[in-house]
Symmetry: C2
Subunit: 443 residues, 2 copies
């Protein structure tokens, strides 16, 4: 594929170096020992949710598909590996021809997950599958962490829209992925133009204090903004005195003023005051946007306040206290010899220090009660019980190296909404608790 | 410049969309009101350090220079902005010709900072400076957060080398920046090949449990690894039984075995046991590398253990509890009219909700006591007092749009070491405390 299709403003000529060095040296060792082409199954899962969280949110799957498709060792990369003597010539020759030709199944993007859920399963030769560990984990661990925070904030915000504004608080490209994950988790828009460009997420913006300070007076600034952007703009009203700014905003823009933004102070108190003032001035349709270090708890505390939209930055892009998930990529089964039909043998690290894994290639299904509400995440390695066959969670994403599971981002967003609605009601409590579904193992 | 010089594996054709939408709409408003070309000074600073931290570490400055140099609105980007009606035609025309032509001064990379330190100062027209807000903050907030964690871990590790292994726990490109920031903060190497490629940071690697599980036995796996990579490799010894694995490792590789890695269990206990066993087996020079959710406290707790190197992942790339800094980009002074010689007027948001700023274009200097130990961070807007003139912290980075402050990454790493050594001894206590230097304001 044309790598430019992956999207400006950042073309990624290859994702192949988003890789830990040991993946290449393991490949070299396996090529040498003759085990490199053993059929292998790797699974991505987490042993636990972040403390107190009720559910996780799978996000980044679409980006994983881009990354796998684009995992190529081109000339410059091979030169780098050769110059640094990272691997030997035989391994370089293998890498030069590398294309992932295996299969990937996984929880579809936006789905919820629990401890032990096999959120992604990569199957192919050891050689082709082992190389994908780091880039897959980077994407899923980052994006799922942001989506989980976004989901909780969306629950707290109810029907009110959430605006992603966190670009300045995270790496400039992590920000683009964060805006994408936030959209999956329920956000409506982003301030990040790169996210609009790359993923067609609606972009929005208001104004900064600098714009007011640039002008000789707040009046001049408001006049300039309305003259340029129309009365449907959002005026920032907390540079000097909020009440005076609101009065002047309506005077200048008229009662059709789009919105005012409050970015500091006691947001609960100010929202009530400003709403009353706007109504008295006849600006009954002018909306109130609040920003300023919001998290899901702050959003929930404003539920009874006359707030029309929330702008969220830091706490969203840093996962609201949990900036990464603890997903791992583990070999769970492999054959004794090469070949696509060689029988698989379950493998697992021996239990020590809480890092034990369950061997074997897994299926997963969500069992529901008589009312259709989810009651357990069932994970197994044998045959799928009859009653769960049509409740399986993994879907086909890559078949024989070809991506078959691409979908519009809106589909993931909608899926998350549906998945959340299928969980017990306590899933959406913000307070700390256990995973809302137990994970049951059926072998 | 050739954007490819910014480095594979990711070429960034432009950094211009790492921008919040409001920066462009503010530009449009200012172009319309005639204020866009007022001379303006923006400063980057933080109002507080993360709770309990004694100092901050400036990192990302070199990346900021890349980003500014590469901040261009090309055809595809202009088309996107036009299609989405983000700004009007006059603004698009301005953007098409955009090149930052102003001056940037800042704390050099690796330097420490405190609340109120003006870590970066951008001076130019409002139009050219306002657009850089988001990309500058993204870089500095992310990279400085990682560098601060790295610095604390380096203090805890003493002379023992630290290996950055966090790529899988953060966004794939944030990982590359994190490896860079970790190097500035004192780490020695990284597992991330992209960071080696882009920044020439030494890359290292060991082996994963998957490699052992791929083979028919641990013996086969060790034999394969030693055959392929030589006896100077690092064998992972905790897949099954550590003592048995160590015995076999030395049997297979001989007493010249490079190192063993322990990735689970009670690291303190295991390090002692494994060291004793290695010594008894005659492998006195075989090193012990430990990994497994280390942070600065875990590293410190292993100070008395026979550990030779630490591999750190999650806690490093997530800033050890503080994944972002709270740096802001504020207009602190501007002229009443256009022109490079127009006199500057200090400006600042009125105090409310703890978001007050100090207006005026600032200098900063670190005052030392009679023993040459730093005793205060002095920040001022007037003339620099005589005794502080040669202790000023800001250096010239960009002059008239041309980068003049580029330096090798090793220089930033060395500077951090020197800066830390100049602070009071309590700076390097890991326990929570106040900033180790008070910030004094001299006007």
């Amino acid at each position: 594929m044309n790598t430019a299709d992956l999207g400006l403003p950042v073309t990624v000529p290859s994702t192949a170096l988003f890789t830990d060095r040991y993946e290449l040296t393991m490949l070299q060792g396996a090529l040498r020992s003759g085990t490199a082409h053993r059929r292998s199954v790797f699974e991505v899962f987490t042993r636990r949710l972040p403390e107190g969280r009720r559910y996780g949110v799978v996000a980044g799957t679409g980006r994983v598909l881009d990354a796998v498709e684009n995992f190529r060792f081109d000339g410059a990369i091979l030169d780098f590996l050769a110059a640094g003597k990272v691997v030997d010539d035989a391994t370089l020759a293998f890498l030069a021809d590398y294309r992932f030709s295996g299969d990937i199944w996984g929880y579809p993007e936006g789905e919820v997950y629990f401890p032990g859920s096999p959120v992604l399963r990569v199957e192919g030769t050891f050689a082709e599958a082992v190389l994908l560990e780091t880039v897959i984990l980077s994407i899923l661990n980052h994006d799922s962490a942001v989506a989980a925070a976004a989901s909780r904030m969306s629950v707290a915000a109810g029907e009110r829209p959430l605006i992603e504004m966190g670009a300045r608080r995270t790496h400039e490209l992590a920000a683009v992925a964060a805006a994408r994950a936030a959209f999956v988790g329920g956000f409506s828009s982003t301030s990040d133009l790169a996210a609009g460009f790359r993923y067609s997420i609606p972009t929005v913006g208001t104004s900064a204090h600098a714009f007011t300070l640039l002008h000789d007076s707040e009046r001049d600034a408001f006049t300039a903004q309305v003259a340029s952007l129309g009365s449907n703009t959002t005026l920032l009203v907390d540079t000097y005195d909020v009440a005076e700014a609101v009065r002047m905003a309506v005077e200048i823009a008229g009662p059709d003023l789009g919105a005012v933004r409050i970015d500091s102070g006691d947001l609960l108190l100010l929202a009530h005051r400003v709403r009353r003032q706007l109504d008295e001035l006849g600006a009954k349709d002018t909306k109130i946007v609040v920003t300023s270090d919001l998290d899901e708890y702050a959003i929930a505390s404003l539920a009874a306040a006359p707030v029309d939209a929330y702008g969220v930055g830091t706490q969203l892009v840093t996962g609201s206290g949990h900036p990464t998930c603890s997903m791992v990529y583990k070999l769970v089964a492999r054959s004794d010899e090469a070949g696509p039909d060689a029988p698989l043998r379950p493998v697992a690290k021996k239990s020590m220090g809480g890092k034990a894994s369950l061997g074997g290639r897994k299926w997963a299904a969500r069992r529901v009660d008589a009312h259709g509400v989810a009651e357990a995440e069932v994970v197994g390695t044998g045959a799928v019980p009859e009653g769960l066959a049509d409740r399986q969670l993994l879907v086909e994403l890559v078949r024989g190296g070809t991506v078959v599971g691409r979908e519009p981002l809106a589909a993931a967003r909608e899926r998350h909404r549906t998945a959340l609605a299928g969980l017990p009601m306590s899933a959406t409590q913000l307070s700390r608790g256990e995973p809302v579904l137990p994970t049951e193992y059926a072998s």
